[in-house]
Symmetry: C2
Subunit: 394 residues, 2 copies
């Protein structure tokens, strides 16, 4: 990667974040009347649904705090982060059981709670950034409490006890939440939680015999020859791969970098669409049909996560293969996802890259994967000395 | 519709049922080792997942009994229906609460129960057909019990009480289940249940102001300006339309026929894809983006239900517009869905008719919508005197 390319990518990521994506959301999603953020927006930023997803409240608050702490101490970002946190604190927690909701009305009345506690994990990292930004210990205490609730939450199973499974989602989010809270509030015990989660992923989900990262396995990591056991989510596994690479980078641990790149090596060929380009949503480990209807669509976030993972893998190892993969997924994504008319990215494309839905956001898409990618990749590119040959890989 | 076309369609439906679709399932889905039916099959009939969906156990059992009672008393069909019912009785009910399961292992161990009681409704009509086929009163009693459990089931809401909704699904299935059980076991009270359900659909879901059949509304039928309130399911509404037309035909009630054709009139222009043909899965009432990712795919069953509805509407009213619509949806479906290699229909096509998944069946697709369409349309075409001008519509 020559210097001109490095500079060009840096500009793409930085300016995309600061001049396109962030302004789209600050312009259209701030609810000054009822607080919080409205993220169900059409391509031009018009509101499609006034309901509020709790994930997106926490994620946008986190992003704003992260930008304040890492990029520049702009008062506007701090004010908006506090605006998000106020809504989270006032409306997003169920006093009956202390759990957080998933879906609220515009006014903050609760519509739905889910079995998982990801609302808590995103609210935790939001509080962490605000603690760092303001020095207010109450935010830090709140972040710790939410982290505890997230990691100690026992997910009520959807299925009976006949065929128990484990998914890669909870340990992945635990790693990332631990990393964020270690950075923002120096969370006690963060490393232990991260270690435990990486161990679980390596022991149960990374299958060397078939060169695969399994999304859902039996309790002991065994393959389950049913729809859900065979269904792979390559973008998700690749997201987990960069969380682990990043941990290796933070600790200077070549073994972790190596585990992360191995996960990427396993899942790139499974996820990359040789016919049209881009990362597919779901694939079956044996090439059988997948039950989920949108299996061959191209969603924004698997591309975002793969852009981070390939760039990070290249910068950590110097292996040109990762630079090539990065270029492939970057180019495909930037050719098909950005909306030339109103900015930001479309979220939902058909396999061949045609737009399937003009939604810019909803309960699932908001100001998170795309701006996080832009921020991460900008930061990686900003340091021309980013350690490429520092770690000798096993 | 001239006589040659009538004969040609009759042959297509009858032979498609008896020589293609039914043999596909009897050849590939009967589990002689553990009982019941395995319906998760790939295009060539090979098994993709051995798990068993309870809906499909009831639906295939119903179909076999219906064929025995309505078409020909073939011992093979009766034996297979009894094979299906045996599995339903042995494994599909949870003794702890009397509720039926939704998803079982091949051996019949329970994996999942759902909030809705549609397993019960399909098992009820299966028992009804076997009662009629064998004269065994125990089957009739079982059918009544299951019907009671279905209609008296209180669905545990997924949402809080903040914005209660009502869906069109339960009253629709109540109409059809009542019709089937009235036919098979002369279910006491069937007409009252059917009347109540039609009244609910007319009062709450059929919106004359916007010429629309709403899938999900507020408790009093009010429009909810959110994703789920705006999302229409035209194939589903059109299925409801023909249940009501059929009721009108059975009772000689022109008002009901008229209500059914009105529902079809409202939903054809919303569901028919002017660009590629076929019935779309979901559309937004205001043309806004839909949240469900597969909104613009072409599934098999909306086409099946629309083929029935348009043909029935034509034969009941003589209105040539319905004959034209029937030809459009019939031709589009028969051009894109049948598998020329292994028979039966693919279930999941992209908007333009390309195959998205080679699955012939799963938890959701099985021997039901397609063979029911073939049977219904065959029966409608078999009677050249099928009442066209009998009812004077208001």
């Amino acid at each position: 990667m020559d210097e001109a390319l490095r500079q060009s990518l840096l500009t793409t990521y930085r300016d995309g974040l600061l001049k396109d994506v962030l302004p789209f959301w600050t312009r259209h999603s701030i609810d000054r009347e009822h607080g919080g953020f409205i993220t169900s927006l059409d391509r031009d930023g018009s509101i499609v649904d006034t309901d509020k997803g709790v994930w997106q409240q926490g994620r946008f608050t986190w992003l704003l705090g992260e930008l304040f702490n890492r990029v520049e101490q702009r008062p506007e970002w701090l004010e908006l982060a506090q605006h998000g946190l106020a809504f989270l604190e006032q409306h997003c927690c169920d006093p009956a059981d202390g759990r957080m909701w998933f879906h609220l009305t515009r006014e903050g009345k609760p519509l739905r709670k889910r079995r998982y506690a990801f609302s808590e994990s995103f609210a935790a990292i939001a509080c962490g950034e605000l603690a760092k930004a303001t020095g207010n210990q109450e935010y830090a205490d709140r972040a710790k409490l939410l982290f505890d609730r997230f990691v100690n939450h026992v997910v009520e199973p959807k299925l009976t006890e006949v065929r128990p499974t484990r998914g890669i989602g909870v340990p992945m989010i635990t790693i990332n939440t631990g990393q964020e809270l270690r950075e923002s509030i120096d969370l006690p015990g963060a490393n232990a939680w991260i270690d435990r989660s990486i161990e679980a992923i390596e022991a149960f989900h990374v299958h060397d015999d078939c060169h695969c990262v399994m999304e859902t396995v039996g309790l002991d990591g065994q393959r389950l020859d049913h729809f859900d056991g065979r269904t792979l989510n390559p973008g998700h596994a690749i997201e987990g791969a960069w969380f682990i690479m990043w941990e290796g980078h933070q600790r200077g641990d070549a073994q972790l970098v190596s585990l992360g790149t191995k996960m990427l090596d396993y899942m790139w060929p499974r996820g990359w669409d040789e016919q049209y380009g881009g990362i597919l949503y779901f694939v079956d480990i044996d090439g059988k049909p997948v039950q989920e209807y949108w299996h061959d669509m191209k969603f924004w976030w698997p591309q975002n996560e793969t852009i981070i993972a390939t760039l990070l893998a290249y910068r950590l190892t110097g292996d040109l293969r990762y630079a090539q993969w990065h270029q492939m997924v970057h180019d495909w994504a930037y050719t098909h996802f950005p909306d030339p008319e109103s900015g930001e990215w479309f979220g939902y494309l058909h396999r061949d890259g045609r737009v399937s839905s003009t939604l810019k956001g909803g309960l699932w898409k908001g100001p998170f994967h795309l701006p996080r990618m832009q921020l991460m990749c900008w930061q990686i590119m900003a340091d021309s000395q980013f350690p490429i040959h520092e770690y000798i890989l096993p």
